[in-house]
Subunit: 334 residues, 2 copies
DNA sequence: CTGTTAGCGCCTTCAT
DNA sequence: ATGAAGGCGCTAACAG
């Protein structure tokens, strides 16, 4: 523990603790002279405000919590970095809480979790309704959701249904011989169901075009390239009719398909058309047409909304629900 | 803010705040009768202890901070999960702090960072000497290092030099035509230099065997499979002499090499031998011989050491420095 | 075993 | 503009 307190600083500077407190908190009702003295005292004593004491009385920590389902994908990496950029400008810090296990979830269900010891909570890609009792995060602090729709909390998200629709439209320009490669989310309370929504949108467009589409045309893979490549090989080998179009519900699967196609001497953009999702930077290298989620913009907006909420003394600010549009990046795969 | 305090509970249960406090903190000097009353009152009132008040007086938060360089690799994923397992048993929580940017580092240099608002700090793969002024983490809380040697802090690490040596010995059983595929850490204060050490160990053995080894035989890649695969393809295409042996300083690169080899119709375990590092679970699927870091064991031990430190009232417990041995897992790639 | 009480370090009126 | 004083909610020491 830091032994030097506001009292010591006051003594050193020959002022009262009240004055020191005012200086620390950047109030203006302090004479320049005294301000200098206090600043100097703080410097020489190496004083650091005690956050607990501060939190006890004011309830502020100048930090927010970021809750994500996992932390080892490009998506969350970019998200966290974007959030941090906004926090920097506002002199905030962030702690990260990946919802890695049931145990962690159990902790997060309790009001006393350190998750809620910050000034606000940013939650990404998590099905709040399923996760929390009555769909309510157990805290009075402001909560903003990213990549998830909600009728109760502020949220910034993208229409995954629309992503599927767009993918279908792009592919239909090329062929009606269509397949899907996706990830089957295990149906636990952790899953948000985005992949499902993408496929629903996709099928919807096919139906609108009077095309039949059976579940036999939906293949699945795990979320790693190794698996995706294997699966893509096996799928492509079985396909009889070309050209063929693939909706890859995430770029990774598009990658697998391209690798497999190369391997089987299928020409991408001619024998096989592929549309991925996420707009990962490396899709450019492999020429994958992709539907980008503007993660950076979404994250930044969500952070700003959260900061606003936190700093508006009146909690009457209305709920914001911002839907972003997917961004189509066309390359030679479709 | 939770409006109900310990006082309210005391009133509701017809006991004193002292008794309530004892119940909350699991002390045994409480009659069963009173304990029940208090528990019931807590239940009906929905009381939640205020952490700031608690922290103010006792300095405890029942949480630790985990600091890692980044969060999107298998390594840190496993590390964090292992730490969590130990925390579960001890009713602790963890916050995660990835050192993603210079800005974050700047924050972490200040004593007031939320990083230090926990009861202890677990730091992984970070060059404390370079990062912090005088090599000292700005906190009085206990600090334990994982995957990093130190003369000052408790640490649990593995001999990366030895990993390189082992890899060389395995490969030399097969061929003397050796290459390295590694990650070139930018030489910033963030980098720990583990890759470099692995290569040094590798070269050392070659020298001991009177084999020349030039830096031309060291190829590098970024830490993602896409890049690794591309690089592996380009390397393998240029190689004239087979069989060839590759030291992949992390499993990911071994994966890239295997994929590339398959693609180029090279037989792994015959035309090309590969040794990876880390012992990732998926190496089994792809038949990659790997040198495992016992991440789980290391993480768990480090956590236990930290918990010990935190709970020993006397800070005189001696510094512990534990070196783990790498574990060789042989498969058909070498 | 239980109640009482003195702070922990800080912010915030309230006088001055 | 400044100082004095009263808590914030809790733990821990002490007295019973």
């Amino acid at each position: 523990m830091s032994r030097v307190t506001i009292k010591d600083v006051a003594k050193e500077a020959n002022v009262s603790v009240g004055t020191v407190s005012r200086v620390i908190n950047g109030e203006k009702n302090v004479s320049k002279e005294n301000k200098q003295k206090v600043l100097k005292a703080i410097e020489t004593l190496g004083y650091v405000p005690n956050t607990y004491a501060r939190g006890l009385v004011s309830g502020k920590t100048n930090s927010i919590s970021i809750v994500v389902p996992m932390i080892r994908t490009d998506f969350y990496d970019r998200l966290i970095n974007s959030v941090d950029c906004v926090l920097i400008e506002n002199n905030y810090e962030s702690s990260i809480f990946p919802l890695l296990s049931e145990y962690r979830l159990k902790k997060f269900l309790e009001k006393s979790s350190i998750l809620y010891h910050s000034d606000g909570i940013l939650m990404s890609s998590l099905p709040v309704q399923k996760l929390f009792k009555d769909g309510v995060v157990p805290t009075e602090k402001p909560v903003v959701l990213i990549d998830m729709e909600s009728n109760f909390y502020d949220c910034v998200y993208i229409d995954n249904h629309l992503i599927g629709r767009i993918a279908a439209k792009i592919l239909l320009e090329k062929t009606t011989n269509l397949y899907v490669m996706t990830f089957i989310e295990p149906d636990t309370i952790f899953t948000s169901g985005v992949f499902k929504k993408r496929i629903e949108g996709f099928e919807e467009v096919l139906k609108e075009n009077n095309l039949t589409f059976s579940s036999k045309k939906v293949f699945h893979s795990e979320l790693n390239l190794h698996y995706a490549l294997n699966e893509a090989m096996s799928i492509l080998k079985r396909i009889q009719k070309f050209p063929v179009g693939f909706f890859a519900t995430t770029d990774l699967f598009g990658y697998g398909l391209i690798l497999a196609a190369n391997n089987l001497n299928l020409e991408v953009g001619k024998d096989i058309f592929i549309v991925g999702v996420d707009g990962q930077p490396w899709t450019e290298d492999i020429g994958l047409t992709t539907i980008k989620q503007p993660i950076e913009e979404m994250s930044q907006l969500a952070t700003n909304i959260l900061l606003d909420k936190m700093n508006s003394k009146f909690s009457m600010s209305s709920r914001k629900s911002v839907k972003f549009d997917p961004l189509v990046i066309r390359r030679n795969s479709a």
